[in-house]
């Protein structure tokens, strides 16, 4: 884990996350959040998960930023001379505690790129990698799992997106259906 690329990316992501949390200017925080998403998406690509990286870049860095910008265009931004917010000590303590608890699980994770991870050694993975092209006819095993082997799950996901979206539209603006 002394890969300079990984170290640079991780420090960028951490810095952006901190900036998002402590910047007092909402616009600045949104820009920092977009940079954070961009860093995360590059990390996914480095970890050889281009599908997830693409999603993070499109949704996290793209659409969410636009929606946040629209939201602050309709709300009042706090003005003041201070650049950073002073964090609430109680909230900070809870956040630190949560991070501490989560950090205790880090030791149980296999090293990045290890060939002994359950994901790499599981016979389910083996089966998908060996049979996806023959049975589903597509080269991307992720797509084969999503749209063929686990198609019913994907239908559920699509319906969840549909239901959540329509519900939000009803809450945000009823006129859309009239």
């Amino acid at each position: 884990m002394v890969d300079p690329l990984a170290l640079t990316l991780l420090s960028l992501v951490l810095a952006c996350a901190l900036a998002t949390a402590v910047l007092r200017d909402v616009l600045g925080a949104i820009i920092a959040f977009a940079a954070y998403s961009l860093g995360i998406s590059i990390i996914w690509v480095v970890l050889r998960a281009p599908d997830v990286g693409l999603t993070e870049a499109a949704v996290g860095a793209g659409v969410t930023t636009v929606l946040f910008l629209l939201t602050i265009a309709k709300t009042v931004r706090p003005s003041g001379d201070r650049l950073l917010v002073s964090p609430d000590p109680k909230g900070l303590a809870v956040a630190a505690l949560l991070v501490g608890v989560l950090l205790t699980t880090l030791g149980a994770l296999p090293p990045v790129g290890s060939d002994a991870t359950p994901v790499a050694t599981s016979e389910v993975t083996e089966y998908y990698l060996e049979n996806a092209y023959k049975e589903a006819g597509v080269k991307n095993a992720v797509t084969a799992v999503l749209a063929a082997y686990r198609g019913f799950d994907t239908l559920g996901e699509a319906v969840v997106v549909f239901a959540a979206g329509v519900g939000l539209l009803v809450v945000l603006n009823k006129e859309v259906f009239e």
Binding site: P50, D51, G53, L54, T55, A58, V59, G62, V63, V66, L67, L70, T71, A73, K74, E135, A136, G137, V138, K139, N140, V142, T143, A144, L146, A147, A148, G151, F152, T154, L155, A158, V159, V161, F162, A164, G165, V166, L168, L169, L172, N173, E175, V176, F177
Partner: protein, 162 residues
């Protein structure tokens, strides 16, 4: 409610920057094609319906930011956007239940009477997912943007509140 985009563009400009408008005019078709590529080509490389749908929907977001959200909203009826989402869910269900009706399991593509049924079936399902996702993103964009430009002229509000 005007359905003519040119008319809408002339009346109210959101960002009155000819550079942004020209850039969006040039870039939008490429982004749209790239989104479709991600959607269709997801079967053979990274990508898929969810990612491609979001990229396709960013075309509408770009148009809204460059030419004004209200004109784009008038051009693209929000009710039609929501209907399109329903069509996406229906198309997915049609394929899934169609294979059941033809005597197979859910999404059992090989029972479909077409060549390379599995590949084309998967791409059709990805397209349906893309339609759902892009419809929802555009709908959210319109819903959240409702009223952003209302202080420009209050009199026109009943025409395009959303």
């Amino acid at each position: 409610m005007s359905t003519d985009p040119e008319d809408g563009r002339e009346r109210r400009l959101y960002v009155e920057s000819p550079i942004i408008m020209a850039t969006v005019r040039v870039v939008a078709p490429f982004v749209f094609t790239f989104g479709l590529y991600i959607m269709f080509h997801g079967a053979d490389s990274a990508g898929g319906g969810f990612q491609g749908g979001v990229i396709v929907s960013t075309v509408i977001l770009m148009l809204g930011i460059a030419f004004g959200i209200e004109p784009v909203r008038e051009w693209l009826d929000p009710a039609a956007v929501v209907a399109v989402v329903g069509v996406g869910v229906g198309a997915f269900l049609l394929v899934g239940m169609g294979t059941v009706a033809l005597g197979g399991a859910f999404l059992d593509y090989p029972v479909l009477p077409i060549t390379k049924a599995s590949k084309y079936g998967i791409e059709f399902v990805e397209l349906a997912i893309g339609v759902i996702v892009s419809g929802i993103v555009v709908g959210l964009f319109f819903a959240i943007a409702a009223g952003v430009t209302q202080d420009d002229d209050e009199t026109d509000r009943e025409g395009g509140l959303l």
